[in-house]
Amino acid sequence: MPQTTERRRNVAPWWGLLFAIGAIVCNLVLFLVSLSWQGMLPWLSLLCAILALIFLVVGLLRAFAQAHIYRGRVLSVVLTVVSVLPIGLTAFAFVTARRLPNSVAVPQVGQRVPDFTLSDSSGKQVSLDQLLAPASTGSQAPAPKAVLLIFYRGYW
């Protein structure tokens, strides 16, 4: 059978794996460094995951439905199995990371914020008024022009 030896290489699964790795790299970059264009990274990771899926499906179709033209049955299956986890994780991370409450009642620019008194990391009670007052410890330090309130998810 001459055409068995002349079957073409099936490179699509390799592209699939490459994009699956790319999707994970995007997530790692988001986790490890802070970049000015980081807002694009979640979308880039999703794009990589989608491209990975497309290439893997193409690779499988070539290997199985067009087996007379393409090689790589085992390869396409192995690379698809390997890529499923990073693709799945990327999709899961994308959905869960963006599932955030969107309250219209959040204080907006120009509005007054509610007062509060909370304990700091040494257990001392601190109020918003105190935060806006001149620092008691640094004697000549003037009152701050503003405070930057950073609400965060917590450290665990």
Binding site: P42, A93, P107, G110, R112, D120, Y152
Partner: protein, 101 residues
């Protein structure tokens, strides 16, 4: 931190973490600004930032948010991320701080 002070802005962090956890984080990360503890998410609720059951063991936590609040307690700048992986950057917050008059 010194740059925020130069801009006349004091950063303050708020979460549901207990003071001990905040202290651990402050030591580990070298934070010198106040880290306030709101374990029952009472203030977080008052600011409408509650993210229900999003913490470990399904307890309520704060959604990430940043507010620049002037001496009359008026909000001058805000930042609400749409993705918890996209965190507020110090240079963004510093730029907002420097634009205050």
């Amino acid at each position: 931190m010194a740059e925020f002070q130069a801009a006349g802005v004091s950063p303050v962090a708020i979460s549901v973490d207990l003071p001990e956890a905040s202290r651990d984080l402050a030591v580990k990360a070298g934070y010198t600004f106040p880290m306030l503890s709101d374990p029952d998410a009472e203030v977080i609720r008052r600011y409408h930032l509650l993210h229900p059951a999003a913490g470990p063991d399904g307890h309520d936590i704060a959604r990430p948010a940043e507010f620049l609040v002037d001496s009359s307690k008026i909000v001058r700048w805000t930042n609400f991320t749409e993705d918890i992986r996209v965190r507020a950057r110090a240079d963004e917050m510093l730029a907002a701080a420097r634009q205050l008059h």
